[in-house]
Subunit: 345 residues, 4 copies
């Protein structure tokens, strides 16, 4: 009954096999190996983007920070949600990598809308050289709240951004969950809808720690490589990143694990609602924000269920207080865990 | 016959086994897992430093840059060799992580001496607020030239540095090769000789990509953790770093692989000399700088030997020109490779 | 009828005289001159802070950025108002100088309160190493809205900040206006109320371009000096900054000019209200935010009145729309300007 | 007898008059004033560069750091002399402003030559993404040693740099001294010889503290403005910089003061040689490096002569030791000071 996060599960067995196979003899260092080449080729195939710049790193924060730094000069600001990972969970890494650019928080704490984005953009750069300059827009797909941007929503946001000459970055730490949930192609969710740069996640969906920085316009490829190296994120033995990513997207494994996670989440959401839980958002990926009485939380956690109480604490208050909790389903979570949890509930 | 570098070999089979064993079920993220705890404990044991701050990262450049940033304010300068990896091969990562500190190049292109260090330190900070301020000293063990600092040499350097109130960092990307070659304890090569911070390498000696930032005075531990996170080097699934490092230092594997590499190098050096090669330095670890006639290089490389010509090119010039080449022996290099190479020679 | 800003007026004649007197013969460079010594001594007297660290710079942005950088590590965040100059008008200079620290916006767009500050502090650093760490608090006195923090309000804010171990910085670009309006001593508005660092302004109140970075605990003095030099803000001919600041605070000139500005502003505010203008804030210093009908603005500006329409434009809309405008009274503004403006109105 | 530096003298009386004249009424802030416009226009005239980007700052370090940051990405290195002000005397400001770029030291401690520059450039960027990338070249005119680059020497250096696609920056803190000494036009010393960016100095030659950042290709003008603002170097009351610079270059004042300084220096050099001093360089501007016996230095300094002993100390050693000293002639130095010094000698 482990619902803490999807950053805590194992790597998929097929990934371990791929690593073991790659672990033989010498291989050219720093990404000049065959596995990295396969990863890049496979990812371009999956994205229908044969010329995209693709560079591997080991953490999502690295992917986000390097991608954004290539799009945002230090005197500008990146527009993002107030709950964006880049704002809340990266210890100022985007500010570090950009050399001191700002983040401007947009919207109501979940998704950006064309309206909230336009308002935020309009509010910046009315002060000439004095204020921060307008920089890129960053959206998260799936969002930190477990919801999704439809292709039409992405297109609308990209249209606003591009109308101001601004680029759009997508933090795709849970991109796979979005793809399988929406039933559209990766291309439809990204460049076909106007997205310029993608942090393509793997770590939360079956890899040990591999993400790809994808720039659909490959012009900044060399700059991305330099920023990666200067950030100390270029692996000498990069075959071990390449082998994971190549296998992950070669034949649909990445969609299979995401499907598993989403299905577990759907079952969990249905069960929670059946037992009276109130959900803050309609779950569309593998994350649920649900409110349950304090006493119920106490009982569940005492029985071994592991998840975060969100902005609240178990102790104190009345038994009937509805406390918000976050439940995340990792692809590897046994179905029996969900069943056990629901029967407890 | 692959002598390009020791950053191109596979992980040791025992490391793959450790990874596979670790790859089961959920584990607390961001280093709160059992494998990381074991890695830290084992490394403290090996270093006889039960209170040392130990933090894992995936690249040597990250280890060096983060360690130095914790020791060097942005208005200071780090004293290092002109051939130091931190100067030549990290694309300004130390400057990036420190926020713009300098490197001051010391010595003749191999090791620092107390004299060259003292002269360099004396030459800085004679200008009050105007010049860069004196910062830490960084030495490389084994050096980029395949040579070693004895404990006495380290002590002498540390004495000079400490006399000015400066800390000493050791880039130990090939620390294992030094330990087995010198036949002293890791403690004798580090804190017992005055070293304050160590980049403890694993990647060049049998790991996929794991290094440890060791601060013998643990005071800056939290700052190191923050710098690591902000640099995007904190892994969510850190158990996969921890499992490697724990196994690596648990029971002498790290010394075994280093011994293998050094032994191959000794055989290679002996053979090269027997065939008339001139060696620039007395090889003490797993790197050789040897001069051979251009025609010999041409013949060897045509036969499949892979190594770097150093500061020179195969084409042009006379057949008799003595061209410098670098040979590095990875722990995994088959002895038959060395034999084949020497028989070719 | 010039009400654009107080950054557009001349230097006070006494300042020009002081400059002319200082402009004779040689003087030790980089602040080792007599005028700088006098400025430091006079400012310490005025602040009743005989040991304070005092360093001169030429711009308010430099004073704020350097002071905050000395208080805020790059992985932290500074708590400030959403209308703070450091957020809106410094083109990311605080982020640049701190090496990428954040600003966290607090409150409703005017002053911080103990409650809004506490809520903002509580919301940060609940994520361990992942989120930005809590950094200093920065308040502006007088605020960008022309209002003031009383000593009791400052004390309450400092108590909250200090309760979390955080320092308090005051952006005192218009500190003089606050002192004369509140009728308290500079010490009562700063260190006696808990303020740790002060940007003591001069440029908006009769100087050409001189501000002082004051640290009431002088410990970081050398760091401030290094940050100033590294930021290229140390003047070789610093006597010309020193002479201005020494004269400014020697004998009350700074209070005299501020009194003049505040008095003009009070007359203007009274007149505006008498004519039906709606004021957003009770004017307490030398800035007014007033709403007048669009048609009135059009008439005033056509007649030569110069001021900013705030977040609105003259064109379009109905004549009766009440448009917000900002009026700033420089110390040098002729009283006849105000009278002419009010008679026009 | 003050020969310490040319950063210690007064502003020229004509500059004080210009300041006093400018100090009247309101003026648009942040460089939108008439004096700044005049400064830009006059400087473009003087440089025969009607489209050049010209931005004023108050310190030479700011001019150098901002100009170089616009030419040097953070993963690159600037090639400069080992005695360059940007290396020795700016407390890592160029590293700070560039975001962590390096400086690569070229040559023998005085001027760069095409050969030493080519060798240094060739030695960088042979390591692909690993080493620092090649960045701009910075030369100092007049040099820190009081010597000059002829137009032909500048052209030769620019040809080497441009051959690698690198830009050339000139630190012209003492540009005026070079112009009058060489008897060529400012254009011939800069863009006509290939120079791309110029720090045009005023502070060491009669101004209080004004320098201009000149980019002969104006493309980066907006970036320079943003970097200036973000560096906190944009003055609100910029008329006081503009008025100085406008007057300085309007009618030859800048050449007049430089001529005075150079003439004093020539007299001093002749006198020193006549008395047996050994000069390290042939003085071409307003700086002399001369060796005199220790006992002579002791006598001169006891009599009130003020100058730096360079890399040496008065105490200890033999009376006959020849100690190196630096003598700098400010434009404002009374001729009687030189005469008194020489008669003492």
């Amino acid at each position: 009954m482990f619902f803490m996060s999807d950053n805590t599960g194992p790597a998929h067995p097929a990934i371990m096999r791929a690593l073991t196979e790659a672990n033989s003899g010498f291989a050219a260092p720093y990404g000049a190996d065959d596995w990295t080449a396969a990863a890049v080729a496979n990812l371009r195939d999956v994205l229908e983007a044969p010329k995209a710049s693709v560079n591997l790193v080991a953490t999502g924060t690295a992917a986000n920070s390097i991608a954004l730094a290539a799009l945002c000069p230090p005197w500008a600001t990146t527009f993002c949600s107030s709950v964006a990972h880049i704002h809340e969970d990266e210890c100022n890494a985007p500010e570090f990598y950009s050399g001191g650019a700002k983040l401007t928080l947009v919207g109501d704490g979940e998704k950006l809308t064309p309206e909230s984005l336009r308002a935020a953009i309009e509010a910046e750069e009315i002060r000439g050289v004095h204020g921060p300059q307008r920089g890129p827009v960053s959206i998260t797909q799936a969002t930190e709240k477990g919801t999704l941007y439809s292709p039409a929503e992405i297109r609308a946001i990209c249209d606003v951004a591009h109308g101001y000459g601004l680029k759009v970055h997508m933090d795709g730490a849970r991109f796979a969950n979005a793809v399988v949930s929406l039933g559209v192609t990766p291309a439809e969710l990204t460049w076909k809808a106007g997205v310029d740069a993608l942090s393509f996640g793997g770590t939360k969906n079956g890899l040990m720690g591999v993400e790809a920085i994808v720039m659909f316009d490959p012009d900044p490829d060399w700059e991305v490589q330099l920023r990666r190296k200067r950030g100390a994120h270029l692996f000498s033995k990069q075959r071990f990143l390449g082998a994971q990513m190549a296998e992950y997207v070669r034949d649909g494994l990445w969609l299979e694990t995401a499907r598993a996670a989403n299905a577990l989440c759907a079952t969990l959401a249905e069960g929670l609602r059946a037992k009276g839980a109130v959900l803050d958002y309609e779950p569309e990926a593998n994350i649920i924000f649900a409110r349950l009485p304090r006493s119920t939380h106490a009982r569940l956690q005492a029985a071994g269920a592991q998840y975060y109480l969100w902005d609240s604490a178990l102790d104190g208050g009345s038994d009937d207080d509805m406390l918000l909790a976050r439940f995340v389903c990792d692809w590897s979570l046994p179905r029996t865990s969900v069943e056990e949890f629901l029967s407890l509930l």
